[in-house]
């Protein structure tokens, strides 16, 4: 690829976008050079997504300069932006599940052979050539259905390469990936960078930002804050820029008095998902459930809570037997589950804040079988207030809130049930640094008050920073139990991957195949 290194691929200056009276982006400024990985960081609601959508042709800017490869750019649709050479890879790719990998890559611009028929042979060859260049091993004929999110992203990247995109934007691509998958994505990204393409990388994970990027631009409240070279900045400096104040302690774990066992799980089995799972969580204790995505952690939590059935085993809460597959009974007994997918499992996004927070306690809000709006509002606003949820009124739709605020609503909904045990799955996925540390402080406080907490997290620093005890899950089995003092990243990762590596060695299959299968289990 021949690109003039002096001309930035993308230049934005003072770009502004409003929706009615809401200013989504006040001052979008970003300059991306070819052959560079440019990280864009900021809290949720900082305007990153709006900026990306303008570049991708999804929104039209109200004001400001937008130059692409040195020339003024006016995109009226995403097709325009694509044609100009801009490719966007989203957190969750949208492929056609029933079409093959190859067909997905060439969707809408299939190469034509004789008689204007689609030249399938050329298509497959080109796909193989791209996979080869990316160093990934994917079957071009298999349908997209059942591919892990990581592999789906690779297909999106292949699409971008086949388009010969000059600018690649990756919007939180790693949020749903495991460690190995992230490493592969990064290698691919580096090779694209070395070909002279410009890359914008959005992530909430600082270790990744420092690992991958060479330049970092920080945004806050819809405005440009500053651009720094990655090797000249520090973690703390970035956080300060993002939050506008110093966030002292990201993991404010305070030691709590640990009491009796609250949750006791004995020999839980579910064919094909998890096997012989036994553990307990005591009052005042935070137990971290670590492992790779797809290892079966969420499935265990869902079975314990009763959303999913299990084949054998027992679950006891405070000595009381919890019946299988009955969430209502688990809630009544004092169990709460903040699920991993806020929008699909935690919230009814079309409903109001009050209805969402009241959703799990309706049985207690009723009087003589009658539930009123005012009872709901009273209970909900008390909990929203304690968690500092940002909303104009209790009747506001949950759909319009930022990720961090939505997470607070879900947590409020479950704390309102007054649980003895709080299971929290990916407590801080996709939420900003400020809210993240608020959630961590909250968990620490709750444990301090004697609540038992089972925390599932794919972020190792979070697990190590918050948990009193770490259980590592690999392929549906608990492979290690580590006390807080003993838990190191190496030990956790070893326990999380040990079986997997053995299996790979034995079967001789490639890691990519293996991860794809894990992704299927997770995506089911």
């Amino acid at each position: 690829m021949v690109t003039d290194a002096d001309v930035p691929v993308l230049e934005l200056e003072g770009v502004r976008k409003t929706f009615g009276s809401v200013v989504a982006l006040a001052d979008g400024t970003l300059t991306v050079h070819p052959g560079s990985v440019h990280a864009l960081v900021g809290e949720n609601g900082a305007g990153k997504s709006t900026l990306i959508k303008i570049v991708a042709g999804l929104h039209k800017r109200d004001e400001g300069v937008f130059r692409f490869r040195g020339a003024g750019a006016e995109f009226s649709s995403t097709a325009d932006a694509k044609a100009a050479g801009i490719a966007v890879i989203y957190q969750e790719p949208t492929l056609f599940p029933d079409l093959s990998v190859t067909e997905n890559i060439f969707m809408g611009r299939q190469p034509l052979g004789g008689g204007r028929r689609i030249d399938k042979h050329a298509m497959v060859n080109e796909a193989l050539r791209i996979f080869d260049r990316l160093g990934v091993d994917l079957d071009p004929h298999r349908p997209a259905q059942g591919l892990s999110i990581a592999d789906q992203q690779i297909i999106e990247i292949a699409k971008a390469i086949s388009l010969d995109a000059h600018l690649l934007i990756m919007d939180e691509p790693t949020a749903a990936l495991s460690g190995m998958e992230v490493e592969r994505l990064f290698n691919v990204t580096r090779s694209l960078r070395d070909e002279g393409r410009g890359i914008v990388f959005i992530s909430h994970r600082f270790d990744e930002v420092f690992d991958l990027s060479d330049t970092i631009t920080v945004m806050r409240d819809g405005s440009y804050i500053g651009t720094v070279a990655t090797d000249e900045t520090t973690n703390d400096e970035l956080v300060t820029m993002m939050v506008g104040r110093e966030v002292k302690d990201l993991y404010p774990k305070t030691p709590a008095e640990i009491g009796e066992a609250v949750l006791e799980v004995e020999g839980l089995n579910s064919a094909g998902t998890f096997h012989d799972v036994s553990f307990n969580v005591r009052a005042g204790e935070i137990v971290g459930l670590a492992g790779l995505v797809g290892a079966g952690r969420s499935e265990i939590a869902r079975a314990v809570f009763g959303v999913d059935p299990y084949d054998s085993g027992t679950v006891k809460l405070a000595g009381q037997h919890i019946p299988k597959h009955r969430p209502a009974a688990a809630i009544e007994a004092g169990m709460a589950l903040v699920p991993e997918d806020r929008r699909q499992q935690g919230l009814v996004v079309e409903s109001s804040v009050a209805e969402n927070i009241g959703a799990a306690i309706r049985g207690h809000l009723q009087k003589f079988g009658i539930i009123t709006r005012s009872a709901e509002n009273r209970a909900a606003s008390s909990w929203a207030g304690r968690l500092q949820v940002k909303t104009a009124a209790m009747s506001m739709n949950a759909a319009t809130m930022s990720g961090g605020n939505q997470q607070k609503v879900v947590i409020a909904k479950w704390l309102a049930t007054d649980p003895k045990l709080l299971i929290i799955d990916e407590p801080t996925r996709g939420i900003d640094v400020g809210t993240k540390s608020e959630v961590h402080r909250l968990l620490s406080q709750l444990a301090g008050e004697g609540m038992a907490i089972l925390m599932i997290s794919s972020e190792l620093p979070e697990v190590l920073g918050m948990a009193d005890r770490v259980l590592v899950v690999s392929e549906g089995r608990i492979t290690a139990e580590l006390a807080r003092e003993d838990a190191t990243p190496e030990k956790v990762m070893h326990a999380a991957t040990v079986r997997r590596e053995e299996a790979i060695e034995n079967s001789g299959s490639s890691p990519a195949d293996h991860l794809a299968t894990a992704g299927e289990v997770n995506g089911r």
């Binding site: 949208t94 209805e355 799990a360 309706r362 304690r386 500092q388 049930t417």
Partner: protein
């Protein structure tokens, strides 16, 4: 109940926790003034339209303001009013029941056979018909809620099945030899008023369903199921049981409507109330209930049924043919599907793209 007992007996963990050093925030209950919430709604639009049509009919349609119009109007639409209630619950959960008119027909045949042929008293025969209706609803509900089949497919099947049973039981004959004491009751007046007696069970049913849908945890759960049944399950809503209940209610109420229909016309036939299911669904949608579930309110539905009733009755008095009336109601229905979007546009100040489900 754990929450209340905890509050009385001790301090639960969650109660002591607040986030940050600041005092807890306080919130307004609503972000819109009361008049906005009342008047800028689909339901109010239908009520306003109903009022307009009512006034127009009283002024310019001959005989509409006469003493018998309201009476016959209410007697005509009573089955619609009744069945629209459980139908609203079902559509709010994102499902549909196309078998309601067939259940009415089957109930008509059952009550006819039991009363006329077997000589059972009418209350006993009616009870039997309602039990049969509930069984029909449970049959639908079982396949929708527990086997997880799409309700559209299940109830298209039972639409034919229940109608087939009804016609099969009686053939092409009609039973008409009903106890006159009961048939006259179906057309009797409420005391000295001009209202028909049937408004009493209709009003009772309306009150029951309004409370059920709008003021109980069960009703709130139905909306959750319609929006996002996964979140509903995670919140402890028993999705399958809730769906089962809505279909059983539908079967029971349809059977009751079938008994009323039989007594009113004094005949029990297998093809009674044929095609009524589409009128019911049209009225529910006209009343602002979203066909995809999650949205709608019973006052809108009642206005929708009355609107269809008043328009048909007024146009009939004007000498307009049934075909033209159907065309007008069809246009209204399409307009009613568009208006919620216009209303939603008014309610939303900032234009946001609707998220398309993947």
């Amino acid at each position: 109940m754990s929450s209340t007992t905890h509050a009385e007996t001790g301090t639960p963990a969650a109660e002591n926790v607040t986030l940050g050093d600041a005092a807890p925030r306080t919130y307004k209950d609503f972000h819109r003034p009361w008049w906005f919430r009342t008047f800028i709604t689909t339901e109010f639009l239908i009520i306003a339209l109903l009022a307009l049509v009512w006034i127009w009919a009283n002024i310019s349609v001959d005989n509409f303001s006469g003493p018998l119009t309201v009476r016959y109007l209410l007697m005509d639409i009573a089955p619609l009013l009744m069945i629209a209630l459980p139908m609203t619950l079902i559509i709010v959960t994102g499902q549909i029941d196309l078998s309601v008119a067939s259940v009415m027909g089957l109930s008509s045949v059952v009550v006819g056979i039991a009363h006329v042929q077997w000589g059972l008293s009418l209350p006993v025969a009616g009870l039997l018909a309602i039990v049969v209706g509930i069984a029909c609803g449970a049959f639908n509900g079982f396949f929708v809620a527990y086997v997880k089949l799409p309700s559209l497919a299940v109830t298209i099947g039972t639409l034919a099945l229940f109608r087939g049973l009804a016609v099969g039981l009686l053939g092409t004959t009609a039973l008409t030899d009903f106890d006159p004491q009961w048939t006259s009751l179906a057309t009797a007046s409420l005391g000295d008023t001009r209202l028909p007696l049937v408004v009493v069970p209709v009003v009772v049913l309306i009150l029951v369903f309004v409370v059920l849908l709008h003021f109980t945890p069960f009703g709130r759960g139905l909306y959750d199921i319609g929006h996002n049944d996964l979140t509903a399950r995670f919140s402890g809503v028993n999705v399958a049981r809730s769906q089962m209940i809505t279909f059983i209610l539908s079967g029971g109420v349809s059977a009751f409507a079938g008994i009323y229909y039989t007594l009113r016309f004094g005949n029990s036939r297998g093809d009674n109330a044929m095609g009524l299911e589409l009128e019911v669904i049209a009225a529910v949608l006209l009343g602002g209930v979203l066909i995809f579930g999650g949205r709608g309110a019973l006052h809108g539905v009642l206005a929708g049924v009355l609107l269809i009733g008043v328009i048909s009755s007024a146009l009939r008095l004007e000498g307009v043919t049934v075909n033209v009336i159907n065309i007008i109601i069809g246009i209204l229905l399409i307009a009613s599907v568009i208006t919620p979007q216009i209303v939603a546009g008014l309610q939303r100040r900032s234009p946001k793209k609707r998220k398309v489900a993947p």
